[in-house]
Structures are given as C-alpha cells and as structure tokens.
C-alpha cells in the first residue's frame, strides 16, 4: 500500500507533524512525504492513500505552502474521481474560523471528485494535546477504515 503524506504549512508545525507521522509509518508501509508546495494536483495517484496534514493561517486562511496547490487546482479543474484522501487540520480555537485552513484543501479535493475517507482529524493548539501523537492515532484509525488499499495497489 502506498501512502502519500502531504503537508501544508506556514511556520513548520504541520511539517513536523507530517515528518513524525512519516517516521511512525515508514517501517510498515510504502510512504512518501511531500510539501503541498511541491505537489501538482494532477499528480495525485488513485492507487495511493493521501494523508493530508494542513494548518491554518491568520483568520482561517490556508497556510503559505498550500497556496500554489490550491491555485493550480483551481486553474486546471482536474477531475479527481478515484482519488482517496484523509484530512488532519491544525488550528487554534482562540481564533475565529478555527482549523479552517485545512478545509480549503478538503473542499477543493471533494469538489473535484476525490473521496475523503476516515474521520476528519483536528488538533487544537489551545489544548494540551501533542499534535504528532494525535495525528498518529488519527492515521491508525484512518488506515483501519481502508482495508482494500493493499489490493488496490496490485
């Protein structure tokens, strides 16, 4: 099973969470880690599961590194039917539009025909939870809900 961990980040927190997640999955799975800034929406693969870790900037905006991905997708209007992804958003509930940043990416993917699987994970910086630990737990649960990934890659 191929897993693509993609992160959208502003100050680097999502990058760290994604990197920690990569290290926790790397032993048992075929995993790649990429910054959304380096990903073209048309290159998403139907045989992979995409785990997207994305923060929020300012009052609900997407983070800097997700912007080219969002722009590119808007311009190409690509059909993403058959693409599967799961979302994990980072935010701080002290802000209005808490955790909204990741939803921009979610809306774009869903609006282009991709299918979101598993729970929508969230980390709140106003809590005492460790973001990486929460993301690893979220990813384990997501992987359990996608039993057919193994065969899909054959």
């Amino acid at each position: 099973m191929k897993i693509c961990i993609l992160y959208g980040t502003e100050s680097g927190n999502s990058e760290l969470v994604a990197t920690d997640l990569f290290e926790s999955l790397d032993d048992d799975h075929d995993v790649v880690l990429e910054d959304l800034a380096d990903v073209d929406v048309a290159s998403l693969e139907p045989t992979a599961l995409h785990l997207i870790i994305c923060s929020t900037h300012g009052e609900g905006d997407p983070p800097q590194s997700a912007l080219p991905f969002l722009e590119g997708a808007k311009n190409t209007r690509v059909n993403l039917t058959g693409i599967r992804y799961a979302m994990f958003g980072l935010g701080d509930s002290t802000y209005v539009n808490y955790s909204r940043g990741s939803e921009h990416v979610d809306e774009l993917l869903a609006g282009s025909g991709a299918e979101r699987v598993g729970e929508y994970g969230r980390h709140d910086a106003a809590s005492r939870d460790d973001a990486s630990a929460l993301a690893e737990e979220w990813a384990r649960n997501v992987l359990e809900t996608v039993p057919d990934l193994e065969s899909a890659s054959l």
Binding site: S11, G12, N13, E15, L16, T19, G58, E59, Q64, D92, S93, T94, A125, A126, S127, R128
Partner: protein, 397 residues
C-alpha cells in the same frame, strides 16, 4: 464612528510602578478603560486579551511600520522585519525560517542545546548551593544556543550577553541618552564584524544556520544585518527570563511542581503557563493608519498603540483566576509570542530549548531544585520582564 468616544486619559499610570510590578496597573486599566491614552509615554495602551488579539490580526490598521523617528529600536539596529508589514516582512521572515522551523530544531539544534545545557549545569554545580541560576545558567545557555542558531562559532556568551543587553537598552532609549547610542554603535560594529567572519568563510549550502539561510535566500546584507541584530536583542533575554521565571513559578507553587514531576503535566506545559504568567515581552508598539474604534473608544490615526500582551495574558475574560500559576487551566493559548503574521519567529526554538530541554535537564540534574524564598525574588520591567537574579538550592549530599 458615531457612538465611539475619545479614549480616556490614564494620567494616574506610573512608569515606576509599571517597572516594579505592572500587574495592579494592568488590572485597573482592564477594569476601567481597556483602551487608554497614557500621556507620560504618549501611547494608547490596549490591555484586554480580545482587543490585543484582534488588533494584531488587523495589520492594515495597526501597522508594524513604525516611523523611524518614533522608534528607538530602528535607531539602535536599523529597520528589522519586526518593524515592517507584509509583503516585505514576509520575504525576510521566509528567508530565515528554514533555520527556525520545528523540523530544523529537532534535526540540528536540539543536540547542541542539550550539550550547552550540560556545560552550564556543570558551572551551577561547581558554584554550589545558592548559585544564581540567571547568571550561571539561563543567560549563558540562551546566549550559546543563540550563537549556534545564528551561525557564530567564535562568540563568547559574555559578549553575546553584552550585545543583547546593549541593543535592548538602545531599543528602549526613549529618553535619547547619547551614552546609550554610543554603546549601541560600538556593539553594532562588533556584531557586524562577527557576521563578516561568517560571510567570509566558503559558503556551505548545507549549513543550517540562520545567517546561511538568509544568504541562500539572497537577502541584501544591510537587511541581513538588521535581522541579526533583532535576533540578538530578542533571542537571548526572553528565553533566559522564561527559564528563570519557570523555576521561580515551580518553586512558588509547589503543588504545580508536583504535577510536573509526577508526570501529570509536562515541562512543555510549564513553559506555556510561565510564558503567560510572566510574559517576557509585555508590550510592543503598532502605528494606527486610520482613526479606529477599539472597545468603544477611538484611537486616532497616526498614534502609537501599545499592544500590552503582559496584561492580555492576565485578563480574566480569557483565563480563569489569571493571577494564579495553574497547569490545569482549560485554554493554554496565550499571547506571549504575539499572534498573526508577526508571531515570534523563534517560538519553536524557544519552546524546544526551554520546555523540551532546559527544564527537564535542570530538574533531573538537581533533584529538589528550588528558590529558597520566592517572595524575595526581584522581578523587574514591563516592556521586558524577568528576575534580576535567582539563587537556587537543591537536595544536598
């Protein structure tokens, strides 16, 4: 703004009282006039959490681009990114950010911070019971860490301390003391020489330091220098203050120390609560670009507004019993690092060097670490606040 009224004048505010203990003044300001004009310092003080928070998210109205003639910081160090708005601020911040991101901290700096902690803890141990944790650990540890992140390999921590303290005095030189400007000029030359020594080495594209990151990004040298000075003025005092404040708080509130030592709360939690409780930077300025209504009163265009995060972090509208150090509070988000686009670029470095490394190392190396009489500790300052000295003891042999 038909219903907005002129800002109340808080001429009762005493700068001496702010320096000694600003919290009673802050409490009265929040209660009576969350936005008040203070003639003694010619600034509009914003003291409540929500108003500080919202002002900082409105860069178009609360500009960081303070006029050079109103800013001793700019006179002391040139115009760093902290006194610019986006998009220019963002260009400079992005340039240095590869050195400050959490992944860089984990990969490049954590190991260096650990060995610096061990080095300076040995000095504390040699000094014995009653050693001053500020002078022998917090300051030299923060100074050496700062040198590493910047990319200096030949700067002694006593020089770094002098540079940092002098730039801070320059940045606060509102009385225009010529002696302070003279000292600042000398220190800027010394820092420039240290930067020059780094730049004259063969360029190593894998070097993780902040100076290398800024060179890679192609920042002009004058801008690079201004941001090195900014980092020196803000990258040593604040972490050293928080280290001392955290040990002080865990001594003054032994039940809270037990929560950490028993593992119910972490040293990272202790770091965040300390940053809220004793915010090392209490206030920063913004320039209003238009007449703006805040909490029902008008701040006129062209005024200097003071975002008093030291007060916002004690606002009972945001924090229950805010004047208590409490690791069990519900929301842990504070404004000690600011918020929005100017949120402290070094926040991940600070969190790691203190919450992940220094505090656990100190309590492991010195079981029973405590401040003998926390009530006797002298805290000083409101713009920058910290303990002037912190004699500590630990379980003896």
């Amino acid at each position: 703004m038909p219903d907005a009224i002129e800002a109340p004048v808080a001429d009762w505010v005493s700068v001496d009282e702010l320096l000694a203990d600003p919290y009673p003044t802050y409490a009265r300001l929040r209660r009576e006039s969350p936005v008040a004009y203070v003639p003694q310092i010619d600034r509009y003080l914003i003291t409540t959490f929500r108003e500080c928070f919202d002002a900082e998210l409105d860069q178009a109205t609360f500009s960081a681009f303070e006029r050079a003639e109103r800013s001793p910081m700019i006179r002391a160090m040139g115009r760093p990114m902290l006194r610019k708005d986006d998009p220019q601020h963002k260009v400079e911040r992005n340039a240095m950010s590869p050195a400050l991101r959490p992944v860089a901290v984990k990969k490049h700096w954590a190991g260096i911070f650990r060995s610096n902690a061990a080095k300076h803890m040995a000095v504390v141990r040699n000094a014995g019971q009653g050693a001053d944790l500020v002078k022998l650990f917090a300051v030299p540890y923060a100074a050496d860490n700062l040198s590493a992140v910047l990319g200096f390999d030949d700067v002694d921590h006593t020089d770094m301390k002098n540079w940092s303290h002098t730039l801070i005095r320059g940045g606060a030189n509102v009385t225009d003391d010529p002696a302070v400007w003279a000292e600042t000029a000398i220190v800027c030359e010394e820092i420039d020489a240290a930067v020059e020594r780094v730049l004259s080495k063969p360029f190593d594209s894998d070097n993780p330091s902040m100076i290398s990151a800024m060179v890679r990004a192609g920042l002009p040298e004058d801008i690079l220098r201004a941001n090195v000075r900014l980092t020196i003025s803000g990258g040593m005092n604040e972490p050293s203050h928080v280290i001392a404040s955290a040990v002080w708080a865990l001594s003054a509130y032994p039940d809270q120390r037990d929560l950490v030592l028993s593992g119910k709360r972490s040293f990272k939690d202790a770091f965040e609560e300390t940053a809220r409780f004793h915010s090392p930077i209490g206030m920063y300025p913004r320039r209003t670009t238009r007449d703006v209504e805040v909490a029902g009163v008008v701040i006129p265009e062209g005024a200097t507004a003071s975002i008093v995060v030291g007060s916002a972090n004690r606002d009972d509208a945001q924090f229950d019993h805010p004047d208590v150090f409490d690791l069990n509070r519900e929301s842990v988000s504070h404004l000690a690092f600011g918020n929005g686009t100017h949120i402290c670029a070094g926040n991940w470095v600070a969190r790691a060097m203190i919450g992940e490394i220094a505090l656990p190392a100190l309590y492991e190396e010195f079981p029973g670490l405590t401040v003998e009489d926390p009530r006797a500790t002298n805290f000083r300052g409101w713009v920058f606040r910290g303990a002037t000295a912190l004699p500590v003891t630990w379980d003896g042999h």
